[in-house]
Symmetry: C2
Subunit: 241 residues, 2 copies
DNA sequence: GATAACTTGCACAGCCATGTGCAAGTTAGT
DNA sequence: ACTAACTTGCACATGGCTGTGCAAGTTATC
């Protein structure tokens, strides 16, 4: 008695194609937030026309991306806490690193126009967490006090995105990338590199286990990312400059 | 005997209009590198058609912008040297801060596509200078050694752009902005915030005089930047679709 | 004040991207 | 195997931006 209502249930491959489209969009838009739907469809291995069978407009696709990205990130940050604001910040870095792909799509999309507000709300958990750690770290005398806290938090955020770019571009392995994101974040906050390195080294592996874990399920984007001739095709080296 | 060749010399206001266009382009493209020429013409107070009287294509206008920006920056960096790599890096920061507008236009344009190479070459003096200071600082044990020098230089560069954004956005005064750019650059390099602050404070004013100077001539873009109702006016939001 | 230089406004072509409709396929479920 | 679900390829309307031609203005310069 599956479904007596409709004459037939939706097909399973349709669902798969929908996923493929979202994944493709994630890959393509990370490189160019204004890419055409044709490009997305191509990356997904479908026709442009079929894409409209799943999303009735470009904006609807964007909305889906934003929603998913935001959810992934919130989830990842959900249980990141630590009494030492320095370690807290480092852990945020590690969590973010585990979600690079998502974060970078959001960051890219943020540059656009009308998405700003949506993206902002998607990233707000990160922002809040960073802000809390920053503020605590400044009070404790660890972080620089020569800048208003909001600006500092913003700087750390911006720097983090930059680091993600570099890390991805230079093809660091998981551990190295995570380490870089953590230490540079701390540096911008105000620590010297020796302090940052030492601090990060002192973090018990158990705290990082969640992300460094072997088969950390639910890795939506990873496949797409690996297969991304994307990064290679575009940037080559010019990158940001 | 001005010019016996042509029946009449070009008019002076034409030159002024050309300048206005370039300035407008600088303002508009800094916000949105893909803005239409209509937007540029409007910002310049001219018609789109008139614009084509000065630049035969969009690319020609871009080229002019790139060339000027590159020239300004090279010039600003020409006599930035110091034996202490930390101070060298800080001074680069100060020099860059004096050219924020230019740098930001270039950085924006860099995200585009076919411009990559041109932009890259325009910014190459900065890159080279940063790389030199970075490498020297690492050798001296001041900067972090846990990252390959090229990546570190890249990180510093990226961070600098981020700082410029924040600084401009939060409307810091000249001195504060310069200070921020210098210290955060040093932080990413690896110094603690106390070290960075102390170091920057120790830099004799004479070394900064060049930029902090009252009427440092040749400030091409400053007027345009100040007058930019740009940021406010444009966005509206409709944007794409 | 005559004349060339410059601007404007309009009309036009071309290109590219978005959405949509429809007829003909192909493929998954029952 | 039959049928509905899904995909494809095409055609089409719409809208934005570029680049150009031309006639009619305005303004600097001689």
């Amino acid at each position: 008695m599956t479904t007596t209502l409709s004459p037939r249930a939706p097909r399973r491959d349709a669902l798969e194609n929908r996923e493929a489209i979202v994944r493709a969009a994630s890959v393509v838009f990370r490189r160019d937030p204004e890419a055409s739907l044709d490009a997305v469809a191509a990356e997904a291995g479908l026709s442009r026309r079929a894409l409209y069978g799943h999303f009735s407009s470009r904006d609807e696709l964007l909305a889906e991306l934003l929603t998913r990205g935001g959810a992934r990130i919130s989830e990842a940050l959900a249980d990141v806490h630590h009494d030492d604001p320095r370690i807290h910040l480092a852990l945020i870095g590690a969590a973010i690193w585990a979600e690079v792909q998502q974060v970078r799509v959001l960051a890219q999309l943020a540059l656009h126009g009308p998405l700003e507000k949506t993206v902002a709300s998607a990233l707000s958990p990160v922002r809040a967490s960073v802000r809390r750690a920053t503020s605590a770290g400044v009070s404790a005398g660890y972080f620089r006090e020569s800048v208003p806290v909001e600006s500092l938090a913003q700087l750390i955020e911006d720097a983090a995105i930059g680091v993600l770019d570099v890390a991805v571009r230079t093809d660091l392995d998981e551990a190295a990338g995570r380490q870089l994101v953590m230490t540079v974040g701390l540096s911008v906050a105000g620590l010297s590199w020796r302090e940052a390195d030492a601090l990060v080294a002192s973090i018990p592996g158990s705290l990082l286990a969640a992300w460094s874990a072997p088969g950390s399920g639910a890795v939506v984007g990873s496949g797409a990312v690996a297969g991304s001739g994307a990064v290679a095709g575009s940037g080559s080296e010019g990158g940001r400059s």
